[in-house]
């Protein structure tokens, strides 16, 4: 190359901000934080966004149930007994043999069920993440103990363990039920976080942090945990759905939340007790459970894709 050409080439090579490239593509990229990207990708999933909106609405109904419900939870009204769903008197979900309005009952049920579900998801995630992180990072005894424990839990059907626990620890109170459920769920979270930490531990940035003199705690919290947040959040979301379904099953069988506390599962079983002619008593509380679980699952799916778009999946 001639001197001119080669010096021109070198100019182009330098790449410093004041020497523009010969060709500008015209596409400017704005620098964004990682969370912003997650948010953008999540918002692209219309179904997940719609589900989130529905969930928020349902949540609001639960929070403001005492204000919104046209009737009380346990308010008999023999004049209105055995009404199929009708717009009159706001009996959108009908009434039972005692004349109790099921719309109101379902609203109070939503309140309790959602509360328990989020409580369980939060508590089990907190405990499971802590223990899983320690087990995955340190290995050794803590890890062994954790693995034996999860092995133990895997040999028994989850529902059976929960039923037994609720019989012998006492049921009826949402807080107790929440604690019992969290007691079973945290092992699942711990197992996952342990796996994540085991694979992260070998990554170079951990070695680099150690070489820089960072303490174990700092490495775990500041370096490794943020990398796991995506899968943990997704899993916690799925736990909410699982918790709702399990709590409903427990309450339905009579081992879960009991009156005077409202619970959707209990409503279904009470409805069952009144016979198959009054079909609305069984249908609507269950339908609400399905709706909540469905929406939570859609949101979870959207989150999973937002955190890890490399997996090609159906845009549900």
């Amino acid at each position: 190359m001639s001197d001119d050409a080669s010096s021109a080439a070198r100019d182009l090579t330098s790449g410093s901000p004041d020497v523009p490239l010969a060709y500008g593509s015209g596409v400017e990229m704005k620098a964004r934080s990682q969370w912003a990207y997650v948010r953008i990708r999540f918002l692209r999933h219309r179904l997940a966004v719609a589900s989130l909106i529905v969930l928020v609405l349902i949540g609001l109904v639960g929070v403001f149930a005492p204000q919104l419900a046209p009737y009380g939870y346990d308010q008999p009204n023999y004049d209105n007994a055995v009404q199929s769903p009708t717009l009159e008197g706001w009996h959108l979900f009908g009434t039972d043999q005692l004349g109790r309005d099921y719309l109101s009952r379902v609203m109070y049920g939503i309140r309790t069920s959602l509360w328990v579900a989020f409580f369980v998801a939060f508590l089990s995630t907190a405990i499971g993440t802590t223990i899983g992180a320690l087990a995955g990072y340190y290995s050794g005894h803590v890890d062994n103990l954790l693995m034996r424990l999860t092995d133990l839990m895997l040999t028994l059907p989850g529902l059976a363990v929960l039923l037994t626990a609720s019989v012998y620890l006492g049921s009826g109170d949402p807080l107790k039920i929440g604690l019992i459920l969290a007691f079973l769920f945290w092992t699942a979270v711990a197992r996952i976080v342990r796996g994540l930490f085991l694979s992260l531990r070998e990554k170079e940035f951990v070695e680099a942090a150690k070489a820089a003199g960072a303490s174990d705690l700092r490495i775990i919290v500041r370096h490794m945990l943020p990398n796991c947040l995506g899968p943990i959040i997704v899993y916690a979301t799925l736990l909410v759905a699982a918790a709702i379904l399990v709590e409903a099953a427990l309450s339905f069988l009579g081992f879960g939340i009991q009156p005077p506390n409202a619970a959707l599962g209990k409503l279904v079983s009470e409805g069952q007790g009144e016979g198959f002619d009054l079909w609305w008593l069984v249908t609507f509380p269950g339908l609400v459970i399905v709706l909540i679980a469905l929406c939570v699952n859609f949101v979870g799916d959207g989150l999973r894709d937002a955190f890890d778009p490399t997996q090609r999946r159906i845009r549900a």
Partner: protein, 324 residues
């Protein structure tokens, strides 16, 4: 291979022993076996003392545990608290019924899920695929007890409006089912709804898994190599794709066995089927720890054996994990 199996079995025995001790202690400490007794009016002091003697309720927990183990191993798991019924014969009877229900449901679920999963993967993003995914989501969001109830409601409403009796909604058999083939048909007729309900959750999760697995396999390099060799597409899909995609299903089925039994508990309760699930719920409601313990031990053993079989099958199918 043999040493591997033996090691696993020994390990499982230890796990079972540990689990049984923990559960027994938990149950004995937190529940008061005599609570049920105290509810019965006019119970003579002598009868009460008999029960205490029989169950060694005066002795400390480890001693009681020892008696329980002895009973478990030598005496058909002992007897129930009230009524002194031998546990094992009942348990065995209900276990057979439940296994029948669960195995049929699981087998059908696997077949249906394979059909749906493979078709979805082949026709990715098609209307069929989207429908299948949506239905899967629905299936996973539907509580088992509610689905069971809705089917019952449906059958009853159809009967009331049209006089048509679609399926029985309760019990394993009718009052007088006859023998031989008649009995079998009657049983099958009664099992239709329960099997259907149990299948839903399984099909929902398996089909999504198979779809994902098939997609991953279909995009893999060795599929391209197979095509580059000139193999017909059918052989590429079946020999190279299908087999590889199904291997992880073995693990999934094994892991789902626990939740399948949980579903059986609910289904049997709703449909009043004389199976393990209903037996367990009744024992819990009666606050009788002995059948509860027996049930937990038997179930745990079933799950352990099942997992072991699944592991061996997996090793047979996937040569990469053999001889670990």
């Amino acid at each position: 291979m043999l040493s591997y199996v033996v090691r696993r079995l020994l390990y499982s025995v230890v796990v079972l022993a540990a689990a049984s001790f923990l559960v027994f202690t938990f149950v004995s400490v937190s529940g008061d076996p005599l609570a049920e007794l105290n509810i019965i009016p006019n119970l003579s002091e002598q009868s009460r003392q008999n029960v205490i003697d029989r169950k060694h309720l005066d002795d400390p927990i480890p001693v009681r545990y020892g008696y329980w183990v002895r009973d478990a191993v030598t005496n058909q798991f002992g007897t129930t608290l009230l009524g002194d019924r031998p546990i094992l014969p009942d348990l065995w009877r209900v276990m057979k019924n439940t296994l029948q229900l669960v195995l049929v449901a699981e087998l059908l679920a696997i077949l249906v899920a394979i059909g749906i999963g493979v078709s979805s993967a082949r026709r990715q993003y098609s209307a069929f695929d989207y429908t299948a995914t949506t239905v899967s989501f629905l299936g996973l969001a539907t509580p088992v007890f509610w689905l069971a109830l809705m089917l019952q409601v449906l059958v009853v409403q159809v009967y009331e409006h049209t006089g048509l009796k679609l399926f029985p909604i309760a019990s394993l058999n009718s009052i007088d089912p006859g023998t031989g083939i008649h009995f079998a048909i009657d049983r099958a007729h009664h099992l239709v709804l329960p099997v259907l309900v149990l299948m839903v959750a399984s099909v929902a999760s398996y089909s999504r898994y198979i779809r994902a697995s098939m997609l991953e396999v279909m995009g893999s390099d060795y599929m391209r190599t197979a095509r580059a060799k000139g193999l017909p597409e059918r052989q590429v899909t079946m020999r190279h794709g299908f087999r590889n995609a199904l291997i992880p299903l073995v693990t999934l089925v094994a892991l789902s066995f626990g939740s399948l039994l949980g579903g059986a508990i609910v289904v049997e309760t709703v449909f009043s089927l004389d199976g393990m699930g209903l037996y367990f719920v009744n024992a819990l409601r009666a606050n009788d720890p002995y059948p509860v313990m027996a049930w937990l031990m038997v179930t745990a053993t079933m799950i352990i054996v099942f997992n072991l079989i699944a592991d061996i099958a997996y090793g047979y199918l996937d040569p990469r994990v053999r001889y670990e």
